[in-house]
Symmetry: C2
Subunit: 355 residues, 2 copies
């Protein structure tokens, strides 16, 4: 994927840095982990510290000291999941801040302008996310409005260096997903996001919706599966043509003492790790696994020491980013099917040592 700030090797995983920081890490650490691109959220940044503050400080990259590409989510999902008292019209959405209750109005044009104002590399159109489950009529209506809003967003573009991605909605209705994708492909977006998935539905349903959508989208433009997922989800997403992923799991679960490894998950608070001299994953080359025992990590976590959050975040992001690298290599060598089989095999074999 070619952006104004350079090339992002795909498929790629984008670490989540909602508020202009990937929780607990420095930009240098993200770079060392091999993150080509990170994610912010314009809904959150708009409310705090405010787009005018970030713009006055020279844009989001300079503000947070990260000079690689940044994608910001439009915050459609956050407005619908976090903000109280939201009312939606064809014009846009009125909502109260989840921080201080102040009232705000955002429309598709302003959401593009806000993202351009802080100079991100990829902006996402404002979309309407129906709840799950939702009445079929509501899902149809939200998908249609998301399409109209995307058309307005396209017209609102002003800044060439900011790529614009649309969000394809359609709930769990595969025919609607397919129709929507066909309609969107006629519009000149730089990429396409699959929204409204991984919102509580069964895993098979998520994958069925991905399968209904990706083949209908342009093959030469990035397809981004929003907010997904587990390591297994990444493998299955790539198998279905997804190019970009983001998810809070490696960072959030890391802060909760859960490590993703080649053989499954390690829950560090378990007493079994009290005197365990082994690293989280003997096959892992991350900073945490090269230097620290499970015993020490458990001690830090139990003691609520800040270093614990860092070390687990480093490990989990290393695991996620390394997984993407290995998938890219396997795909380039035409052995993705083998890779996928081995990936599951490791998990079956290591099941007993996951603690």
């Amino acid at each position: 994927m070619l952006l104004a700030r350079g090339v992002v090797a795909t498929p790629a995983f984008m670490p989540v840095g909602t508020l202009g920081t990937v929780k607990s890490l420095t930009p240098e650490e993200l770079q060392e982990l091999g993150a080509d691109i990170i994610l912010g959220n314009i809904y959150h940044l708009y409310l705090r510290p405010g787009v005018e503050v970030i713009a006055a400080l020279g844009g989001l990259h300079r503000f947070m000291n990260w000079d690689g590409p940044i994608l910001t989510d439009s915050g459609g999902y956050q407005i619908f999941s976090l903000a109280p008292f939201r009312t939606i019209t064809e014009e846009g959405v009125t909502f109260r801040s989840h921080l201080d209750g102040s009232q705000h109005f955002l429309d598709p044009e302003k959401v593009v302008a806000l993202q351009e104002a802080i100079g991100v590399d990829i902006a996402i159109c404002l979309d309407e996310c129906p709840g799950y489950p939702a009445p079929e009529a509501e899902v149809h209506q939200a998908a249609a409005r998301t399409l109209r809003w995307a058309q307005r967003s396209l017209k609102a573009r002003r800044r060439e260096e900011t790529a614009l991605f649309a969000v394809v909605q359609g709930g769990m209705i595969s025919t609607l997903r397919k129709e929507q994708a066909q309609a969107f492909r006629e519009l000149d977006f730089d990429g396409y996001a699959l929204g409204g998935l991984s919102v509580g539905e069964e895993k098979d349903l998520t994958l069925a919706m991905v399968e209904a959508t990706t083949p209908e989208l342009p093959q030469d433009k990035p397809r981004y599966l929003m907010g997904v997922g587990t390591p297994e989800d990444l493998v299955e997403g790539v198998a279905r043509g997804v190019d970009l992923f983001d998810c809070v799991l490696p960072t959030r679960n890391g802060r909760n003492g859960m490590a993703f490894t080649s053989f499954g998950r390690v829950v560090i608070k378990n007493a079994a790790h009290t005197q365990d001299p082994r690293p989280l994953d003997e096959a892992c080359g991350c900073y945490t696994c090269r230097h620290y025992s499970r015993a020490y990590l458990r001690h830090l976590f139990i003691s609520r020491e800040l270093l614990a959050y860092r070390l687990f975040t480093l490990h989990n992001l290393y695991y996620y980013l390394d997984l993407m690298t290995r998938m890219r290599q396997a795909a380039a060598q035409g052995r993705f099917a083998d890779f996928r089989r081995e990936f599951y095999q490791n998990r079956l074999e290591g099941g007993n040592s996951s603690g």
Copy 2:
């Protein structure tokens, strides 16, 4: 100061790593900051994760991935300030854990053995810390018992690589401090700590007690002022012959969004910093000041982002360690008096920009 693991340039400040971690930082960062030696606390480590866990993992250095010198405090102060239901006899002290209420008994011999068991470079004798203020008779009694316990500690030594420091008590009675120091100098310790200071008394009184003590202690052995203090305290301590300091201020206040600078303190939550593009201290060469604006730091702090705690800790420790370096250089060049005058001059001049 020569230790089994190398030389520590004095006067030195020891970052506090109570539980086997200097909160939020990696050992590599501490090394880069120029920390020659760090501090742990045997009372805390004994309770969690337990000395047997650390010993089983190869000692505290290996456990926490720090191969420089470590000094552990005996925990005398913590037992008297944190632990409920403590009873003290000539034998030792019985107390309940502040974590789970479990009952424990520690005596001077065991406290030496615990520190040797985890392989620290400097162990501190168990002492009795009277409260402040305390009746004069109680202060005398505690000082005398601390001396007897120090003699027992000396006999309990088994491990050559662990240096042993005594703690000189004596409350706020300068004649008693002097007498105690004279009694202690007859005993063959590797260094001497000044305990029971900075416990709520006026600053002048602290310094008077230091002045009463340091001249009576051997000039060729390190003198360590425990738990002190502000940058001003470090300068005044060095002026009075102190070689070692430790204090939670740079780390704890850092986590509370307070930065120490050459011109005074910066409280980042103040609204004045909202759009301030300047670093915390334009004269500072630390990672935080080289890369981040006050506006960004304020945003992180207000948003309770983990990176804030790291960036303030890095800055404050850099400031403290750099201050010690500058004092060592000034002393070596015979211009400590000039240094001290300039130090206060900078603070007067910069008073208005401290925010």
